[in-house]
């Protein structure tokens, strides 16, 4: 018989061993950790805009996980594509930036130097620009400010 294990006091987290049904096409999960994702976030937003919007509109129709599997696969494939391209073209800058984020509490404002190098490389090689929607018009966007008030933490 099955026994109930309290999830909060169980020795091992419960893992469902059943694989995805064969009727659903398999897609390689991205598997990227938080810092590289945060480093690449604005480029994912720029590069995969169509797929992301499509997916979110689909989710708006229906929250059921089964409803948007196709759009979701497209989103993941697009992100995969972008990360691969980033690694091919700007590996050094990318690594530097996400390592910096990892070491600085994942705050963008503590890692402007590697970020600028990465942004420059991404623009030159892939033509992707980091834009923050909703920033006040006519002002320098926060990631390009030369002398910010909030800089790194004193050590």
């Amino acid at each position: 018989m099955s026994v109930y294990h309290k999830p909060d006091s169980a020795a091992h987290p419960y893992k469902d061993p059943a694989p995805l049904p064969a009727s659903v096409p398999q897609v390689q999960e991205l598997g990227t950790t938080s810092a590289p994702l945060k480093s690449a976030a604005f480029f994912i937003g720029a590069y995969c805009k169509d797929y992301n919007d499509d997916f979110m509109l689909c989710k708006g129709e229906n929250r059921d996980p089964a409803h948007c599997l196709k759009e979701g696969r497209r989103v993941t494939r697009c992100a995969q594509d972008l990360i691969t391209k980033m690694r091919e073209n700007c590996l050094q800058e990318f690594d530097k930036h996400w390592n910096c984020l990892e070491l600085h509490n994942q705050e963008y404002n503590h890692c402007r130097k590697p970020e600028r190098a990465l942004n420059k490389c991404m623009f030159e090689k892939l033509g992707l620009i980091k834009t923050i929607p909703g920033s006040p018009e006519g002002k320098t966007p926060i990631h390009e400010v030369k002398n910010p008030v909030y800089t790194g933490v004193q050590k």
């Binding site: 099955s2 897609v27 999960e29 992301n52 989710k59 923050i132």
Partner: protein, 116 residues
Amino acid sequence: MPPPGGFQEIRYKRNLPFRGPSGAVILAGVTAVCAFGFYRLGLGNLEKRELQRERVWSRIYLVPLLLAEGDRDAYRRQQAALEREKEIMKDVPGWEAGKSVYHNPKYRPAESIVVL
């Protein structure tokens, strides 16, 4: 009779040494420092707002990706639970596995109890 050359001058002026800038100057200085500080504070507040915007948008851009991955996993678990239910309830006639208890087609997430 006075001595030749006259008497010594009478020292009647007060002899007070210079004891730092006057109150007005200190007040002006403090005001200036405070004004500069508040100016920086204002700049910092504006900047903080933009940093928060940047942080929020970096997350918003990742939402579809994370949601898609989570959805695939949720779907996999759903299907597995359905299979289990079918297996357990196969002897009960008229049992519909995975049938909602609500008369509403709206999607509801499954109850989060895990039975091992």
